[in-house]
Symmetry: C2
Subunit: 532 residues, 2 copies
Amino acid sequence: MLAHDATAPTVFGKRRNRYFIGSMTVTITGELFIGGTRVRGTGGTLQARNASTGDILPGEFSAASISELELAVKHADEAFYAFREIDLQRRAHLLDAIAENILELGDELVTRCMAETGLPQGRIEGERGRTVAQLRMFADVVRQKSFLNVRVETAQPDRKPSPRPDLRLRNVPLGPVAVFGASNFPLAFSVAGGDTASALAAGCPVIVKAHSAHLGTSELVGQAVQKAITELGLPLGLFALLSGSGQVVGEALVAHEKVRAVGFTGSRRGGTALMKIAAAKRQPSPVFAEMSSINPVLLFPRALETNGEAIGGAFANALTLGCGQFCTNPGLVIAIEGAALERFIASAAASIEQFPPTPMLTSSILESYREGGEALASQKGVTRVTASCSVEAGRASAHLFRTTAKSFLANPALHAEVFGPTSLIVAAMDWSEVETVIASLEGQLTVALHIEGEDQELAAKMLPQLECLAGRILVNGFGTGVEVGAAMVHGGPYPATSDGRSTSVGSLAIERFLRPVCYQDLPAALLPPELR
Amino acid sequence: MLAHDATAPTVFGKRRNRYFIGSMTVTITGELFIGGTRVRGTGGTLQARNASTGDILPGEFSAASISELELAVKHADEAFYAFREIDLQRRAHLLDAIAENILELGDELVTRCMAETGLPQGRIEGERGRTVAQLRMFADVVRQKSFLNVRVETAQPDRKPSPRPDLRLRNVPLGPVAVFGASNFPLAFSVAGGDTASALAAGCPVIVKAHSAHLGTSELVGQAVQKAITELGLPLGLFALLSGSGQVVGEALVAHEKVRAVGFTGSRRGGTALMKIAAAKRQPSPVFAEMSSINPVLLFPRALETNGEAIGGAFANALTLGCGQFCTNPGLVIAIEGAALERFIASAAASIEQFPPTPMLTSSILESYREGGEALASQKGVTRVTASCSVEAGRASAHLFRTTAKSFLANPALHAEVFGPTSLIVAAMDWSEVETVIASLEGQLTVALHIEGEDQELAAKMLPQLECLAGRILVNGFGTGVEVGAAMVHGGPYPATSDGRSTSVGSLAIERFLRPVCYQDLPAALLPPELR
């Protein structure tokens, strides 16, 4: 059932008959994908582990050396020019074909992904559906062509005082894009996730730095991508998949002068490091990093009074969903102190304590979660609402802490994200203090308002401030469950993202990888087809 | 005829009947504009000089201290929230009213601007027309509302497996914007120029750092802006005008945490310094700097052969227009060596030698021009085509240098911009060497192709490479004379600009100052009017 020889490099285009993704078992070889070829990386070896048990999973993974990285970028740069000339229908086909090939990986992908991430089957299958839907959405975006932003102003030779030239504008792709697989979305924000789909849709080749926590998943999806490129006869350098450490392979990729943009979802430390590297290049390149957000939840007085217990239960569900490993996890709740808030807290705590200890995505995420919880617990003015340990026997428990607005305002440490199922409740003396807390926050992906009746008036007054705070404002819900569509913004002011003018989810994400070019007085034959 | 007392601060809103801009003489006081008030800066004094004679011009200009800068930003931040709530019709009125008030400044503005810049009357009047047209274009952009990028996806409560929420998106303004007056466009890229117009159109208050070379012009235009704000009853902090050095006032402005974006046209050194400052902020902010471009001109073989002399004459005109002080000045010509190129050179040189020595915008620009010319002349493999001095008796002469592709490729110093009427001709052995020269270039604002007949085929092959090189590609013309419209791109890869995904000229410039926000499940009453 082995589709190819694990010891020799395999050229997809030449040996495609040896590939069978559909119902066949696809074997994980641990090789890199470079320019349509599978090669064994010479930058060392890596192991994949079962996130729940810590056991080593099958696959001898190889890390890319700098020379392999150079080769991948060289192929991507060559493919960039070739890909630009290929019509948009074929570009759309590519995205659809990748989606199809991911589905054809079938259970093997789901099983491997579950093992590598500790996430349950339903979540992985749901995420696969989302990944496929994202690819198809971008195929539609490509077919609709509005991303090209075509603008035509024809010549006015008789205009006074001077004639107007013929001016036509369209968007063009930036060039090769480095995509970093995210730990928490092994499919939807990894090898063929939102960043890859939007970059390919824009016309940019993609070089993926595989996340070390799901190497096998990455390789399987890599095969789906490569197969689509090969079968459609597209430039083989369009896609590369490199494994290795973020500090070595990741940073070298971002630093490469021919890498023209970066898509990253991960830690604030990682994202800001990449921003610095990209800014220091001979030709600085944009970094679209989605990094850090505590996603404040505002409980307005009337909603808290009439509905606090129900909101508490819903909040606990949102907090523990996926073991709290979402960028939009509600890490902060702000409300006025009093009996109604206590009822909310009691209700939330009761639900949260029911949450069974659960494996996290990686042992280092679990360790950071433990440290984050302990750090929070040790801060002045912070008390625990729920039981005493964040981590027991290699699994994460959910936790709730509380503090006062005064303590929160005095201590920046309380503003930091604890990635996982932990949240901090901030009790203010009055609404004006709630507003002061809001004003003290850094940029966020989401802000959620719970309102009822007359709360609406208070909420209306705050909207301008909230628009400056976050990329998405939502009412009577929580930020988890990010819809993929034309009106979504998954972005927000720094440090939520590196560039608050962008989104990494939804069709608008394609704009990150485009720039406008104006064509003046070009003869029709020289104009790009869509400008003629 | 003095409209106000030069010694006491004047509050526009309170004493508006003392202002008469139309046919009245408006006196230059040297005060700053902060929050609707005129105040004398306490950061030192500045003088305005006649660019042609070096004589001191009337006006005792005051520089802003850091406390005055703080005050201006505080007012701008307050005005930001108020301005957002004001409907788009009034925002459009503001832009139209500024245009009207600039025209009403009449001859005094033209006379002062001519004195401060050394530019001739026709140029200043033309630039005034362009400035007014720009403001009116952005008024139209505001009225048309498409800059809001409204996207609505209504709820689908019955969708399986999960309901779709109601999602609505619009663009919102970033916040206070710092605008740097450009030396070479004292009206069109200064106090009420393209950056200011697009920022106000986006909904952002503007704090202008006046260019020290046209302080009186800046103050006059500042009065036109402030009068419009006052008369329309708009938030007085919407506009501030600060004088002072770039290193002190300019850098402090960019470093201010409440300044959310920067519009800058100037030197590469200045622009990259601002990029670094903005990137190091607690919340980094985008800098849109238009910096450095040599705007290569490619003479294709057939065009050169059949039309070289005429192109040479047209090139000389473009090079010397405005004494070469345009960002799109043709500073580099690339062609295959031979008799046809010699005819082009002879024709260009004959025209260029007719160009009379002309004052430049400032004495420091003149000095840089002299140094740049001398540096170029001293490089290995570079020879002068025209006479021997760039600068004589305080005026600039136009110059042409030549070199070989080999020398050009070997020496990065030959790639640097010499701001002024100087250009370098690079003679290649064959077309493949022309392409190598192109590949060696940094990002550009424009690239101009001169083609005829069969050249078109060769040009078509090069287009993908040229699209990666520049923001505007033009045929059988030169980049000078930047049309203001919907299809213009005045931008390009670094170092042409800090962000090649943007343009500073044309209606698309508004996008620099916007970011998207998504509203999820908001009751209609809470939604912004355009999303209901």
